[in-house]
Symmetry: D4
Subunit: 251 residues, 8 copies
């Protein structure tokens, strides 16, 4: 191991086996060559995330995914695979029986961790029922990252009373993920009703001039309510990571 | 005049000066050749519009515009020039002292018509104060077309209580023009609150990913509230014409 | 029920069981908390629309749609599902035998309402025969909303005499829905021939630089005829709602 | 004032001057009609934001802005005007001598508040020196919202050692605003080095295929590091509001 | 038939059965109402085109196409259906045995006309072999319109000697259709080598930043060789119609 | 001169001064090395075009343009400079007094050729008066190329009777250039009325969703009338070259 | 053969069978007419490339590809077919048993050349494992062109230590191909770490606002590290050709 | 200086002033904290580039640029500022008299280095004269990086003989920079004529559907000639850096 090598080098300097200039030369090469050995960076990340391993299922072979999940499961008690269709899920679950497939958000979840108390504060809101798969991708991801998640679905702005009727729930949240396709107007309205961070997720729900989610993406980037951060189209996972970081900030 | 010529032809047929086949041949050429002579189409349009003459000022020379307005004023008691800057206005108003320049909506208005009772029913709403020039272009145009117009400005969705506090005014209108830039979300909310036609006007207010009004345009086309018709970016004039046609429908 | 609670509160104020300040405090929370209880908004909408329930079929599971239609049918005598393919239709119609599938416009229609006299005034025009599915989506929707609908199909501008030959029909309408793909030029021509509101529906008919309907969409937004409102690509449903609102305006 | 009216109503109920049903009828109309009177929403927002009044300077007349700032200064001890050029600043500062113009971020700032201890935790990073105006818009805004802000400028990924040499500073932050134009790659690298929320701000710095900031915007939305929220191009202000909400979350 | 009605009217005028004013009134309505009856326009077009009937197969049902072809075949001795896949072709050819399917250009051709001498002058050139389906759509269409067509395929600019080796063939043509995907550079080179009209057809051949033909389309529109007219992506048919009009111009 | 060199080589072969293999070796290098010497290509082009020299003024310095025009005027009796503003024109005309500046189409024209009889057949049509600068660029260019040109301006489709009233003029043309901005619908209508080639020129006239001419460009590429070739936005010059080639085809 | 003809001509000049002027006339036509005969260009290319024959499989029929490969194999000992799916591969390999199918990069490779020592210097790097198919297309192509290739996969910028840990490998390369989808940030970082040419290949890996590879394409074009050349999305083949040309430059 | 500190640490270890574990702890923090101290990376880069300091002038204040150039001139004998207008140049040159302004490529150049022999091999080619500013930016940059540069201007593909007449010059180059706007077709033709690396630079020369250089950019990315690397629109500087790296590769 690299730390050992470095220690040896220092011992050799101490004992005079190697002179200072030669040691200096070796050390100069350290920053890039031996970074893996130090690996503070990576450990640091693991420790603070509490969530080390995620796989993007889309575009991979089912067998590949199964193999990756097996290997990851050796080091980590939580593995998440996103964008998984039923066929891929069947193959992976056959090989790894304690992996669970959630078909709505198309997630494969392995969770062997001990139950701990979840941290409350994340609310996931959708404009329509068709936005639910993306919303659930966010919600399940956030839960796996030790957050407890509330859901408020189908409160789009074309029936604004549905949202206003639950405004107290908005006010309870510490961070709100708002998932919307079509006009993508919901984050602007919610952003004006609360003072906590709002994460906007455009979805590809819609047709025609939605251009596969471009319309709500632009809407959200131009939100007239300040304090709204936007993630990629259909990226429930990314929204959950950001929300979890915010929710666990200061913990 | 063409009608006269046609009458002569029929008289000649009657009197036997021309035989039926020769007359038939002349008539076959009528639809395209002599359309100007008939001009039902155009008169028809004038009668029903009550608003014959509009000039797009942008891209023309001030002198050209002055000359056009003079000529139009000979036939029509109302002339409207849109997208006029102060320099053009100064030149036109010098030549035509009864032309009025409205600087906010950048309109030149000539109105020598007799005062008549305006038809109520049009409400113009804006999301922000920066949308007012486009809104006023719509409002002044609609007024010139014999509609009385109510205004409700600066009620954007990021402060939804401003809109909801005036919902009764929304319910009084027969047709609503909603003007919004940035996220363009307001028509979706209003479309869900009313059952009258909503005309959405995206504006180029904003910056960055607004892409000069593309963002609110797409938002409005994807409105999750049905019953919303969209016009071109910053096209307050076009919205007013459509609103006036709706408001005066059945009159 | 919320109204009851509010009544109780007032009775308590009246009887002195609760003092004015405490009651005031409770009332302050009303606007958002208890909106569902008041629900004027929603009832208002139902009453005036005469058409409460629409489902977007696309992107849902057939079983989901069947369940939703069943539930809606308990409260409403009319249900419409849009963007339904044959497979979904078969499943829904098996469970709900009085639901009718219209394959051209891909609509599922449940209509248990009593026959009433339809309101005349809506004309649906297409540029080509390939635009008919979208046109029929508009026409069937408008009919279900108690309008009688006339159709004028395949009168695109490349054979302008086809349109001009039926110009009297255009002049009879109170509102005209114009459906066109490819160059999307028809609404400009019709907009110049009539003085009633024109609703333009771009379709994804075409290929190459049509970019799935972007070309006719832009054409229609830039129409040199004023008084044209545009809806989303292929959105026959939305055009019908807007047309119905215009047609029934003032009724 | 509206609260007074409501109190009167309750007093009348108590005294029997008005019966319960009539009072009920008046109350039913409350949610929309009298919302301004209640204004919980707005007060609520003011209290938690500690930052009530912002004006977008761009597109307004200098005199308008001066008038708005005067009016706002009557109610609020902090006013911020964004996107202000030198000419506008001169006019406003002449009328309001305690308004300060910051030329790099093009901000007008009025701050009459008492000095309080700022909340540490926000780090603003830029890829290049040309991104500094946007970064300073973010930093000054965040400071005005009672956050203390650290700056790390000109650490773009093409000289990755500049960033890595200061990684400890990254690890100290509670939320990081990353401002970058051109390739917009910096948020991805930083997002992988930290576990706190990252707010990415694309800038219009660049030329050609940057398409006025579209390139870095897309880069950031597609960041391969999760936990990155994106705001509009050049929107330093919006990033600051989001960062402040995150930084003060739980306070 | 309408001409008959018009003749009757004139006869009635002649005989005094109807007076001149009543006849005038009927004639005023002619231009739009009875245009079909006159149909000069349409006959005119047929006569000069020598090619009256074309059907876009794409997006239609095979049975629909079969029915349309049958009906058209009653009036016209040439029918062309474009964008036809094998399945549609099988069904149509079963019902109409003298219809021929050309699989490369995906055309259905019915040609019962008497052989006449073709007019020489059209040359169809492609950049690559993958552009051949579009090129053949053009060539077969032009042949059906009584032009004889030469072909020069696979002479793209990356091997410029292939084109230059056949430059005499270019110089023989009266009009040249150039079909190219990917970089779409060929029309610029050919446009500089000849002085006859060049019709450029971009194809969707390519991948990635070709964006389904957008790249060659823009290339061709920006051709540094003047005298190049561009048609829609993959529109071999349209290019052929234009080329035929040019080739037969003055005949 | 190169031809001389080649002749010398052959003389040397004939006289035996150089053997066949050495001559062969020299000849192998000919096609690329000495092409200028042969220059058939270029002469060929000059002869057939009758119009050798055009300069794009935009983006050049006035002095540069003056120098280029001077040099070209030594070899050619006709020089055309396109996209010239008044300042550039003043400088060039001072140095070259027989150069004429046409301000509407922004062209500098030098024509010292002997008057010859122009070839009739080109018609230039515009949708609006704002399209005239582009139309005149086309018309003047075509005239300089020895065509006589007819003009039909301001016959846009929103007043279709204006066009139909002059349909005989359309039928007289051998090739028609149609110039239109905004919706760009006019070429589709004209394409359906005539059987001669139509060249469509989109213009940047318009605003908002015209996107500087993208809207009419797409409209024209998707024209439902076949036989329409499109050139670049505002490219009146290119349209004229193509029209001239068509008009003089077969001469 | 053409050289022979040219030789004969010279012999005839020498012997006096043909005079100099007649020979001159024949030679004048050479550059275009007989280029194939000379074909220096093409031979030249073959000699220096060492890699004459490549076929784009996509969009062709398997039988066509098999036939093309057979024909090419007669003249060339190396044939490469790109973008080949399994079905096409099966058919081709059945007919040509010594063709090898590489399924990851979807390449068909025929290599009957004698083993020679490969030229070291090319390094292929990917951001993620999903970029491997494109990377392998590059690597296998480069190997077939006589380069030895090193691979460094899955070192994306979100885990920058992975890349930095192998920086010595970067420094060993003479040219580096960097393959990345999503944010496409890796070339910017690598471009800053090395001083050799970097070829950036955007991939269509990603979803949503990746817009099929547009996002990384723009990122790479805007790279803040100079010295980066970009090829088309997913174009591993093109990157390999460029890298090979660079790597073998000066050999 | 950091190297000194590291040396001290090792001396202390050697002398026993600090024990191995404490030293180890300090070293673990090195990679990120003290990277500047090591700075191999940066020195490495300087050594191999021979060209350390470049400033993007655009978007900076003249005074800022003057100050930056002064500071850089203390460490480096060559400084280059790109995208500089005349006004900025005047100010900088007043303060730094040995800075030279090249107005065509808009470059400020400071070169106090001793004359050395330039490395031949780079050829810069343009399609038109309007592409010269970008070409000169490339050429001057490459010369400053110790390359000798040949130029071949105005050889666009619409007059292909101009290029072919100089093909020997193409064949002499070791790397070719091809600069082209409008259709951007030149790199495809040159890429097919040579076997050395080609760097394509799209320019914003053109109008309309050039979309400020998007058209030639896409053309070049889709080049049917392999071996072409593309840089940003108008990025002559970047092309030069890449060309210099290739040209000096292996030196």
């Amino acid at each position: 191991m690299e730390i050992e090598k470095l220690k040896q080098l220092l011992e050799q300097v101490k004992s005079g086996q190697i002179d200072v200039d030669a040691a200096l030369e070796q050390l100069r090469r350290l920053p890039y060559e031996n970074l893996d050995g130090f690996a503070q960076l990576d450990h640091h990340r693991t420790l603070r995330n509490g969530f080390p391993e995620v796989v993007l299922g889309q575009g991979k072979q089912p067998e590949q995914v199964a193999a990756i999940v097996c290997r990851l499961a050796e080091h980590s008690d939580k593995v998440l695979v996103t964008r998984v269709d039923q066929a891929m899920a069947d193959i992976v679950c056959t090989e790894m029986p304690d992996v669970v497939y959630k078909s709505l958000p198309r997630l494969l979840v392995l969770d062997r961790s001990k139950p701990i108390e979840k941290i409350p504060g994340i609310l996931v809101v959708t404009a329509g029922t068709a936005d639910m798969p993306v919303a659930e991708e966010a919600a399940v991801t956030a839960e796996l990252m030790n957050n407890s998640v509330e859901r408020m679905y189908d409160v789009g702005v074309a029936g604004i009373h549905r949202l206003l009727g639950q405004v107290e729930n908005l006010w309870r949240a510490r961070v709100i993920i708002v998932v919307a396709g079509m006009d993508g107007a919901l984050p602007s309205v919610i952003g004006g009703l609360v003072s906590v961070p709002v994460i906007a997720v455009p979805t590809s729900v819609g047709y025609g001039a939605s251009f596969n989610g471009l319309a709500p993406l632009l809407t959200m980037l131009n939100s007239c309510a300040a304090g709204v951060g936007v993630v990629n189209i259909d990226n429930g996972f990314g929204a959950a990571v950001l929300a979890s970081r915010i929710n666990q900030s200061g913990q």
